[in-house]
Amino acid sequence: MAKVNIKIEGFPYEVDEGLTILEAAKRCGYEIPSLCTYNHGECSQGSCRVCLVEVKGARGLVAACVYPVSEGMEITISSPKAAAARRASVELLLSNHSMKCQQCDKNGHCELLYAAQITGAREDMFEGAKTPATVDQLTPSIIRDTSKCILCGRCVERCKNAHGKGVLGFEKRGFNTIVAPAENRSLANSPCILCGQCVSVCPTGALTEKSEISKVDEAMAAGKYVVVQTAPAVRAALGEEFGMKIGTAVTGKMVAALRRLGFKKVFDTNYAADLTIMEEATELLGRMKNGGVLPMITSCSPGWINYAEINYGDLLPHLSSCKSPHEMFGAILKSYYAEANGIDPKDMFVVSVMPCTAKKGEKERDQLVTNGLRDVDAVLTTRELAKLIKRSGINFNKLPDEAFDNDIVGDYTGAAVIFGVTGGVMEAALRTAYFAVTGKEHDLIKFEAVRGFDGIKEAELDLNGTKVCVAVAHGMKNAKVLLDDIRAGKSKYQFIEIMGCPGGCIAGGGQPFVKPQFLPNEDIDILDTYKEKRAAALYSEDEKQAVRQSHNNPQIKELYEKFLGEPNSHKAHELLHTSYAAREAFKD
């Protein structure tokens, strides 16, 4: 890469050619106030003017985010003229912004408020009309409030990348411009898959999750038997909300906190992930043996299920009929567990802590009601759990490490832990499928080919002479490639794992925000590395487990012996399997 010599604040630096002033300054140790420093090309419009700097010889001030560095360039960030212009830019944004900051869900994570702080912007400098606002609260997962939107377009770009096509866009013109689904519809009546990636990148409170903390409060107050389960990805990120380095696993402290929050039992969804593997691997082998529909595709990710039902109604028979792990757990808790412990399942209230906003919608599906009861009653995201902990006055960082409850359910294996990262479900399923067919454990345990963050990964496994081709995709843009091949009859795979969010659950729409301006102790490339760091926390927990294959989980064996019979039995189907239905992209 060719280098150029520039000066910032009079100091000489050598930087890569082709960088913008904003990027170059960041590498030289300067932080130019901006609303997109950290957005990774998810806005390149240069329209907000928050990053104006002085460049010697240039006509007027330039926007650092779009202006490339060149040989001999002299940049001044601190001049009063540039500082005043930046402040005015933020003040103009504030003039058309709903300033109800105290009750805003993004309070503490708001990039606009941060920009206002460091530029010294005042909220009432420009008084005038405000763009007519829309507040859309119709989906179970996401709230869209255009009065908080600064039209940066980051959600539009992220949605395009995660969803494949994109649900959000700019509409209308000039002062009336808004970011919305077509016709400013509710997300509920659009092709939105509720993955929440837009919430993750929105710099303000324009896109937020729909909180269910009050549902949990009400269940506790009503004296329900409230149990909680946590997905694997939650432990890999929850610590970030309490100032810990990204990649710190906080399993023990999380369990301790949940006990102190008053949950009767604290379970690990991993138990049910092992159960999912038993059901799913059996289903796969059955389809392969009996000429069933192949490739079979995993069904753990509700964002992906939404996408399939909206866009690939014709391919639904390819989906595994397995419920997702937390739904399976709910069904088992309200049957097997309730029965064994003399609890009336009607009094039981199952809370799932998930890295996911789409899970909130999933739990409300008609297909996930067993014996008249919802399998899961409330879903909190990782961020909501952090709020609950903070609200309750618990000093998370000082908590002792405690272990999950484990009586007749709760035990889990290393295979289950890695569900939280792209390729994990596949790897866990292969470990068990290999054993089911060959009668012995795979020597390696690790299936490196399905690890990592390539958009599409593939592997081949020899099962007693039968070659099994598998593929893993994360993010719908990648999944679409595999799905179009299936539709065209060109797919060479027998088994495919698809996760809605790029990176899998560790980077789910319900995970703590990764906003580098609030993470001064992380590396400057943290946006490129945070997924790997969170994934590493899960892979190391897998390696620490004595048992690393789902079929060797003793409690799962017992569950089949005492209650379900065998995988895919009639009873297992009643409790652990579900169905799907095609639906329209734009509902009237």
Partner: protein, 162 residues
């Protein structure tokens, strides 16, 4: 897509195919559809989205950005009143108000019988003959408010709605 006839779907597919090799075909496709049908409803945008791979949200954004595109069917006669600077200072507001008064509709609306639509246009590039009105491409120069009733009558006499 329940509201579209098979023939319409086929024609929209044909229009999309016409520009399949273009690098950025969206504006051309939308222009052709606007010209053919007079408006571009959501159902049609869904077909264009399917054919081009561009999201409906983005297509809707383009349709609502340019005033040339319309989401609603327009009347048989589209009265485009220029409200650009030159026309405006020459009294274009009174002209458009008169059309509104006679037809009983606001700018952007279409009469119930489907005959007339009034569009408020920005500069149409005819400042030398301000104030100007363009009806289905025919330009009326240096209009006076008193000319308006006659023009409406002229089109009423020309024939009914589609």
């Amino acid at each position: 897509m329940a509201h579209l006839s098979e023939a319409a779907v086929a024609q929209i597919n044909e229009i999309c195919a016409r520009y399949a090799d273009e690098k950025t075909p969206l504006m051309m496709i939308l222009s052709a559809i606007q010209k053919e049908y007079g408006y571009i409803p959501l159902e049609v945008q869904e077909i264009v989205s399917e054919k081009t791979g561009i999201s409906v949200a983005e297509i809707y954004g383009v349709v609502t950005f340019y005033s040339y595109f319309s989401l609603q069917p327009k009347g048989k006669y589209v009265i485009g009143c220029c409200l650009g600077t030159a026309c405006y200072v020459k009294g274009a507001q009174q002209i458009i108000d008169k059309f509104s008064e006679i037809l009983g509709i606001a700018p952007g609306e279409t009469t119930a019988d489907g005959m007339f639509t009034i569009d408020a246009l920005r500069c149409i590039g005819a400042c030398g003959i301000a104030p100007a009105v363009s009806i289905n491409g025919k330009v009326y120069p240096k209009l006076k408010v008193s000319d308006v009733p006659g023009i409406v009558e002229e089109y009423r006499n020309m024939g009914g709605a589609n």
